[in-house]
Symmetry: C2
Subunit: 113 residues, 2 copies
């Protein structure tokens, strides 16, 4: 069993093209015994955003703090604390902070085999 405060896991800069002011903490990632899916905590600073992109793996999302939107094909969804989301496989998406505080959310992905 692993039990730990998320703050003990370092935040790494996301260097992917199209990402601005985004960090990621791999709470349960490659080095962990998680057998099926990874738990990550993502922080987007005011004015920042993730890339607008799509990929074969889904995301399951839960917003912890802050305000922003998930931009999708032809639609933009406002999000705030307590919003959850499913980004389906191959669906275009972008997370954007539209507020004045950090947008903080959990983002889970399946382990690729």
């Amino acid at each position: 069993m692993i039990v730990k405060p998320y703050s003990e896991v370092p935040a790494e800069n996301v260097e992917t093209a199209g990402a601005e002011k985004v960090t990621i903490r791999w709470l349960l990632g490659k080095g962990s015994p998680a057998p099926n899916f990874y738990l990550r905590l993502i922080e987007v600073q005011p004015g920042g955003h993730s890339p607008y992109h799509a990929h074969p793996a889904e995301h399951e999302i839960f917003i912890l703090e802050g305000h922003g939107r998930i931009n999708a094909k032809g639609k933009s969804h406002p999000v705030g604390p307590g919003t959850f989301a499913l980004v389906e496989p191959n669906e275009e998406h972008q997370f954007e902070n539209t507020g004045s505080t950090t947008l903080k959310f959990l983002c889970l992905v399946p382990i690729e085999r």
Copy 2:
């Protein structure tokens, strides 16, 4: 894409033997297009707890609000907002609210195939 406040998903009583004052919201569950794992939000009222049990599926946990502990074989782990946990397959565990407010956490499980 699904984007929704968790409060729109009804809280169901957990009737399992050994569960006291526990409700569950299946945010992304059986009826959803989630392809690999389910997202559930669990609330335990003060004095309540989940069963002390084990099962082949792991749990990935993130504490949103409240205080309590995860009881495991020979050990008890205090938890509060921002604590994450991995309960490994077949590991004995119990979630217990030791505080005076609702213990609220996300609990993810793989889809059984």
